[in-house]
Amino acid sequence: MRDLLKLKKKAVEIRKDVLMMLEKAGSGHTGGSLSLVEILLYLYHEKMALKCETFKCRERDKLILSKGHACPVLYAVLSDLGFFPREELWTLRKLGSRLQGHPQFGLPGVEISSGSLGQGRSVAIGFAFADRIDRTGAKTYCIMGDGETNEGQVWEAAMTAAHHKLDNLCAIVDFNKLQIDGFCCEVKEMANYRKRWEDFGWLAVEADGHDFIELERAFDKISGEKERPQIVIAHTVKGKGVSFIENKAEWHGVAPKKADLEKALAELDAAAKELSRV
């Protein structure tokens, strides 16, 4: 980890951006964006070290946000990396904006259009095959939601990747245990989740998806795998970082109102202050 404190501070700033974007947009997906902050920051800053200057380069590592509804956090992280101006964040979901309600291919930094769940993993397989054919050495990371893995296509892709031994493919599940209709386990049983992936032929590891050190340990464990595709099951909290949004299914697809935003920003500012004191 190059600078743990810096990443932690950045996580607070990204959460603030996400909430401000959503409040301005008046709609969007709050819970699943906030649960993904550390995972995205870790991947972009530590794992892929992707820069906008190298984005078009054929040998780059790729990140696919298959759970496209969490795009506010992707936009915030990409903008922070310099892929597009920060002012553009405040155009989210507005007519004429490049920041569509779900990610659209063409916005710098966005690898694919996504939003119809279950498709990103299969697109990632296409990237992985192409990188194998061209021997680029690049890796493709694909982030899915836990509810998203209800989709049958996810398991079609799981079989394809394992059968073809796509070791250059890594999936991450944002396992925040909630989906639109409530707890994942109540919507559809999620028992033995890790074993399911292992039975499908994947190398599966688990981690606290809000702890940069744990994320690093998990990705270290799977790096160098030469046979199987890998999956990091990242245990997260939906709405993480804002007390009244955390762990509430009703915050899946709702944006904060002005009063909510003020309360949330106050909490996050306090968290930032705490980090500065360390």
Binding site: I112, I125, A130, Q153
Partner: protein
């Protein structure tokens, strides 16, 4: 080039031969299959270029999205299966991961139409033209013979944006073309000024035969091979409608929302003339031999002649 010595060939065979040629010509061509490799004639490519062949098993949705990932990486993917599954089963994958991103993905649906025969309704695709032409960016090609299929495949590999190729199972005679086959350019095969017959796929040679018999009845039918229902060759269709004053469309597809509807949408806006859309109306496929089914669904040469005559009578009223 294609060996035409037998006088006939299925469009899937024409496609398979083209894949082989493309394999040699372009190292970026990759072929994906969903467990129907020989049926869609991708097996010749598989034997020659195993490193650029991917079998997804019975997983069409996964296959289409993987083709998108390959296209995003600069490859030229051909994703092949039966038309019923290529177009219907994976429609949302085509919509979001292919058409929305306007990717160079070639989707190949063989076994289109009722001429699939005995397999029956589930395997007889009657909706692909409708499902594909509604999507922005999509090009839809329905070759009429083995040579068109060969050339369409070669051209699709170079075309920008997604292409859906609808292929047939059974052998059809080679047509006598007058000009070079170009995707998007309709071909007038027979001249005539009494009525226009616009056809695609296997219905083209039947229409040409029907035109010969119509001539004996003093009706000069113009025959247009509309191998590309989208984008539509407006110029050729409008000229024909103006000059003949009546248009019959013939396709081995649902009459609703198919090639005929594409023609009708153009003509209703720019040159309304009496029309009739031959196709399958409010009916799923059924088992039978191809010839039995052409009779059952009223898509024989005699049916084309009857409807053409009826249109000429309507025109005179």
């Amino acid at each position: 080039m294609l060996d035409k010595s037998k006088g006939k060939m299925s469009t899937r065979d024409g496609f398979g031969k083209a894949l082989l040629a493309l394999g040699a010509a372009d190292k970026n061509v990759v072929v994906l299959s969903a467990d129907l490799t020989e049926s869609v004639r991708a097996h010749w490519f598989r034997e020659k270029y195993p490193d650029r062949f991917i079998n997804h098993g019975v997983a069409e949705q996964d296959m289409i999205c993987a083709a998108a990932g390959l296209a995003l990486s600069g490859k030229v993917p051909f994703a092949c299966t039966f038309g019923a599954f290529a177009s219907g089963r994976a429609w949302d994958q085509i919509r979001v991961s292919v058409a929305y991103m306007n990717l160079n993905v070639n989707i190949v649906g063989s076994h289109g139409g009722i001429s699939v025969g005995e397999d029956g309704a589930t395997h007889q695709a009657l909706e692909e033209i409708a499902l594909m032409r509604v999507l922005p960016h999509m090009t839809v090609v329905v070759p009429a013979d083995g040579e068109e299929a060969y050339l369409a495949t070669m051209q699709a590999a170079k075309l920008n944006g997604p292409v859906y190729l609808r292929l047939g199972r059974s052998d059809v005679p080679f047509l006598n073309r007058r000009s070079d086959f170009v995707i998007g350019k309709a071909e007038t095969l027979v001249d005539g000024n009494d009525v226009t017959i616009v056809a695609c796929g296997h219905m083209v040679y039947k229409s040409v035969n029907a035109a010969k018999k119509l001539k004996e009845k003093n009706i000069n039918a113009r025959i247009i091979d509309l191998h590309t229902p989208k984008p539509l060759d407006k110029e050729v269709i409008l000229k024909a409608a103006r000059e003949t004053g009546a248009v019959l469309t013939v396709e081995e597809h649902a009459a609703a929302c198919g090639m005929g509807s594409a023609v009708a949408e153009l003509l209703v806006e720019e040159c309304p003339v009496p029309m009739y859309l031959m196709g399958i109306r409010e009916h799923f496929g059924v088992s039978g031999t191809p010839d039995e089914l052409y009779k059952y669904f009223k898509l024989t040469e005699e049916d084309i002649i009857r409807e053409a005559e009826a249109l000429v009578r309507r025109k005179k009223r």
